[in-house]
């Protein structure tokens, strides 16, 4: 656990001139290397401001910011930003430049060689699923919203920054495209292992994208910062509870896989157990408990057969497994927070 945080915000504040109440008040937050930390909260809570304090698009009025242990609160902000990828909801592609020129922005500023730049542009466009030969010469207006944000992500990755800041990157994109962009982005992140700070107002997106989630209230006060599993299992206060809303138990089920359960034995196609009804639904061992519940509801049956890799029944998952799993998660989270409290 002694990993040095990639980004450390140390009592960072922002007070706009002419206002008394700070927009961000004494925020302290560590972001570990390679994780996606999602800042989530109701609109106006200062989550975007917080994000923009990290690359100093907004200058903090108090506190220190550290990257890799170096205090960057006073370094040249333009130099700082070239080390940090930045993706915004409005994308902001340069309309008078081709896709390739857009993606080459930061490498060009860093005065890379021409050959290296064009190789990098091709690599990045490939990475985000756009054929460089098809799209490289096009202009932004010729792209759909989803394609444009792919370019936005590729451009932010230009000089291979180790940190990415993403401000509601998929917020303006239709739900179907958003879903596929989220999935692709997570797959990309599996390879790239960037340190990412991701802002959203959508708790479901936060749960999906975040390795950790920081739930922010007014003035960016951190109510709870933890893994999605723990937050769902154990919301620390009413604010968090009301923000994550209804269906927390259901959402929590998505984090565990059927294969990890201690399954009930499968009694054969006809020899059934005490319930008398044969479970009809089937799922694979890598399905989540959420999918298991879905299957139980679909078949209006209290259990579902789990198939192994060869398609043979390996066991049966029952409703009680699910409630047990939830209880275990809640107990684990409560114990974790009790320990934290005891330690402090």
């Amino acid at each position: 656990m002694a990993v040095e945080p990639k980004i450390r915000l140390d009592h960072v504040s922002k007070v706009y001139p002419g206002t008394d109440t700070p927009a961000v008040s004494e925020l302290t937050l560590d972001i570990d290397p390679g994780e996606i930390l999602v800042l989530v909260g109701p609109s106006g809570c200062g989550k975007s401001t917080t994000l923009r304090l990290i690359n100093r698009m907004i200058e903090p009025t108090g506190g220190r910011i550290y990257l890799d242990g170096d205090d960057v609160t006073d370094v040249n902000p333009d130099q700082l930003r070239r080390r940090i990828g930045y993706v915004i909801q409005q994308i902001g592609l340069f309309p008078h430049q081709t896709i390739a020129e857009n993606v080459a922005t930061v490498p060009k500023m860093l005065k890379w060689e021409k050959k290296k730049i064009s190789a990098r542009v091709d690599e990045l466009l490939d990475m985000v699923g756009l054929d460089p030969r098809v799209y490289g010469g096009r202009y932004p207006k010729e792209l759909s919203g989803g394609q444009a944000q792919r370019v936005g992500v590729a451009r932010a990755l230009g000089a291979d920054p180790s940190i990415m800041l993403m401000d509601e990157p998929f917020g303006a994109i239709d739900p179907i495209t958003r879903e596929s962009l989220q999935n692709e982005f997570l797959r990309l992140q599996d390879e790239l292992r960037k340190t990412i700070v991701f802002v959203t107002h959508d708790i479901d997106e936060a749960i999906k994208m975040g390795d950790r989630i920081a739930i922010l209230g007014k003035q960016s006060v951190v109510h709870q910062a933890d893994t999605p599993e723990r937050i769902l299992a154990y919301p620390v206060d009413d604010f968090v509870r009301s923000f994550i809303g209804a269906g927390t138990a259901m959402k929590g089920l998505a984090f565990e896989r059927v294969g990890d359960l201690d399954l009930a034995p499968f009694d054969g196609p006809n020899g059934n157990g005490e319930s008398g009804a044969e479970p009809t639904g089937t799922i694979t061992a890598d399905a989540t408990l959420y999918e298991a519940l879905e299957e139980m509801l679909r078949t209006a049956d209290g259990k579902t057969i789990v198939l192994d890799d060869s398609g043979e029944p390996a066991g049966v998952v029952e409703l009680s497994h699910l409630s047990d799993a939830l209880r275990t998660a809640q107990d684990e989270a409560r114990r974790h927070y009790d320990e934290l409290e005891a330690a402090s």
Partner: protein
């Protein structure tokens, strides 16, 4: 279930996208076609008008059969050619000075910090144009004396507004999110100005310059009033002598100059327009 529905929805959306895009493309391509056509049409009309003028001028018998007054007023080497040169010189320098003053000023007034005084400066520039051109010339005559230089100064004051206003509007209308993205990637303020704001504002700025240039060419016709020369002399002679041929030749020459430079302005707008917009 959900797997089977999703692709259908996606497909329908893609179709709609294509249809919408096709409609947009057809609209832009017709306007583009029309623009290209008008760019080609203008020089044809200009050449036709010039030919008409040339034949008309030949038919007048300047220096031979024409009345002595007409011959003297329309003599090419001593009257028309020097007047044309003066006219173009005045228009050229006044337009160049307008660009040199108004574009940097417009850039300056859209920088954060001095932005607030922008409207005030625009009001002052507005008053330059609100004054009658004639009055403006007289005021500068009183201040600076006779001559083409005075005319140029007066025209700069008169024509600065369109360029200043268009520079400010052009820069202000650049999508803020492109600037946000540029700054966020570590572009300096100067880099965002030179690589994003100015290239994107070029069409609007050039349109302002074109307007100023046409104003200057038109107004240079009044230069003769304070001894600045120009084609206004010939028009004035035609009126004074009550000689329609002199009046016509002068007027058509001014029209030809204005049309030619307006066309050159249109060409500039066309070729300086950034691709991708």
């Amino acid at each position: 279930m959900s797997e089977s529905v999703a692709p259908v929805i996606t497909k329908r959306r893609a179709d709609q996208d294509d249809a919408a895009k096709a409609a947009v493309v057809s609209v832009t391509s017709t306007t583009r076609l029309w623009r290209r056509f008008s760019l080609l049409l203008a020089p044809v009309l200009i050449v036709a008008l010039a030919l008409v003028l040339w034949f008309y001028y030949q038919s007048l018998g300047v220096g031979t059969t024409a009345q002595i007054q007409v011959s003297s007023a329309l003599d090419w080497d001593t009257k028309l050619r020097p007047q044309l040169t003066q006219h173009l010189t005045i228009a050229f320098w006044s337009t160049l000075l307008v660009i040199a003053i108004a574009v940097p000023l417009g850039v300056l007034l859209t920088r954060s910090g001095v932005r607030k005084i922008g409207p005030a400066v625009l009001t002052v520039a507005n008053s330059g144009q609100a004054l009658p051109a004639y009055g403006l010339l007289i005021i500068f005559l009183a201040l600076l004396g006779q001559g083409a230089r005075t005319v140029i100064v007066a025209l700069v004051v008169y024509a600065i507004l369109p360029v200043l206003r268009n520079t400010m509007v052009g820069l202000d209308s650049v999508d803020r999110s492109t600037l946000e993205a540029g700054r966020g990637m570590g572009m300096t303020r100067l880099q965002t100005l030179l690589r994003i704001e100015l290239p994107l504002a070029v069409p609007v700025i050039v349109a302002g310059i074109r307007t100023a240039m046409i104003i200057n060419i038109g107004m240079a016709t009044l230069a003769f009033l304070i001894g600045g020369g120009g084609l206004g002399i010939t028009i004035n002679s035609g009126l004074k002598l009550n000689q329609d041929p002199v009046l016509l030749v002068g007027a058509i020459m001014v029209a030809l100059v204005a049309l030619t430079f307006d066309w050159l302005g249109a060409l500039a707008e066309r070729f300086l327009h950034p691709r991708g917009l």
